[in-house]
C-alpha cells in the first residue's frame, strides 16, 4: 500500500513525465481515501501556473 509520501512523489513526477498505468491506478486508489494528496496535486498545479507567470524583473 502506498503512503502519502509515495503518492506525493508520484504526483510530482506526473508533472515531468507520464506515469505508468500502474502508477496512475495507485494514485486513483489513494485519492479515494485521501483528501490531503488531492489537495497536494491541486497545489503543485498551481505552482506550475504561478511559475509560468513569474517575471523576475517585477
Amino acid at each position: 500500500m502506498k503512503t502519502c509520501k509515495d503518492i506525493s512523489e508520484l504526483l510530482s513526477e506526473s508533472m515531468d513525465r507520464r506515469l505508468t498505468w500502474g502508477e496512475r491506478w495507485a494514485v486513483r486508489m489513494h485519492f479515494f481515501m485521501c483528501h490531503s494528496c488531492q489537495r497536494f496535486q491541486q497545489q503543485i498545479d498551481f505552482l506550475r501556473k504561478t511559475a509560468g507567470r513569474y517575471n523576475p524583473k517585477d
Binding site: 512523489e9 510530482s12 508533472m15 490531503s36 489537495r39 503543485i44 509560468g52 513569474y54
Partner: protein, 202 residues
C-alpha cells in the same frame, strides 16, 4: 506600389518570434548570473546574434534550444571578463543550506503520512493578481536550497524537459527528480505558511 521587401517583413517576424523568448532567456540568465544588469546584457547580445539572417528553425523548441546555446556562451564570456577584473576570490558556500537535508522528514512522519496536512488554499488565482504575493513567492524560492530552486526554475520557468535539466546541472536523472520534488514540497509549504494561512490571503 510595391509591398515591403521580403527580407524586411521576414525580419519583423523573426523579431516578434525572438521577443517571445526574451523572458525565458532572462530567467535562464538570472539563474546563472546573479546580477541583473549582466544577465540583461547577455540576453541582449544573444538576441543580436539571433537577429542575423539565415537562421531558420523548424519549431519554437528548436529555436529555444539554439538561443540557450548562444546565451551560455555569452554568460561564459561574462564570467571570463569578471575573472580578469577581480583577483581570484575564494568561493564561500558554507552558509548555504545543505541540499541533502531531507525536507521529507519535516513533512511526513515515519509512516509516510502528512505531518501537517495540506490546507485548503482559498482563491489561489486571486493571489496571482497581488504584488505582495509575488514578494512572498520570491522569498519562498530563495528559501529553497539553491540546487532545488535551480532545477525548479529550469523546469517551470524556462520550460526545459528533465533530460535537459540533468545535462544542464550535470546531475543524474534520479537527483533531478528528487530536486524537483523537494522544490515543490518546499515551495508548497512556504506558500501555505506565509501566504495562504496568513491574513494576507484574505
Amino acid at each position: 506600389m510595391r509591398g515591403l521587401p521580403v527580407g524586411l517583413s521576414n525580419q519583423t517576424m523573426v523579431k516578434n518570434q525572438l521577443n517571445n523568448h526574451r523572458e525565458m532567456l532572462l530567467r535562464y540568465a538570472l539563474l546563472q548570473v546573479r546580477n541583473e544588469a549582466a544577465a540583461e546584457d547577455a540576453v541582449q547580445e544573444t538576441l543580436l546574434v539571433a537577429l542575423q539572417p539565415n537562421e531558420s528553425f523548424r519549431n519554437e523548441s528548436a529555436l529555444r534550444t539554439w538561443l540557450i546555446g548562444i546565451l551560455k556562451h555569452k554568460i561564459a564570456d561574462h564570467y571570463r571578463a569578471v575573472e580578469k577584473q577581480l583577483s581570484i576570490e575564494d568561493h564561500c558556500d558554507s552558509d548555504e543550506k545543505d541540499p541533502n537535508e531531507a525536507i521529507e522528514q519535516l513533512i511526513f512522519n515515519d509512516k509516510g503520512h502528512w505531518i501537517g496536512t495540506p490546507g485548503e488554499w482559498k482563491q489561489p488565482d486571486h493571489a496571482l493578481e497581488q504584488n505582495e504575493f509575488w514578494v512572498i513567492f520570491d522569498l519562498c524560492q530563495k528559501n529553497l536550497p539553491e540546487q532545488h530552486a535551480r532545477a525548479f526554475m529550469l523546469r517551470e520557468m524556462v520550460g526545459l524537459e528533465t533530460e535537459d535539466i540533468c545535462q544542464d546541472m550535470n546531475i543524474s536523472h534520479s537527483a533531478c527528480r528528487v530536486y524537483l520534488h523537494r522544490a515543490r514540497l518546499g515551495l508548497r509549504e512556504c506558500l501555505e505558511q506565509r501566504w495562504f494561512n496568513s491574513k494576507r490571503a484574505l
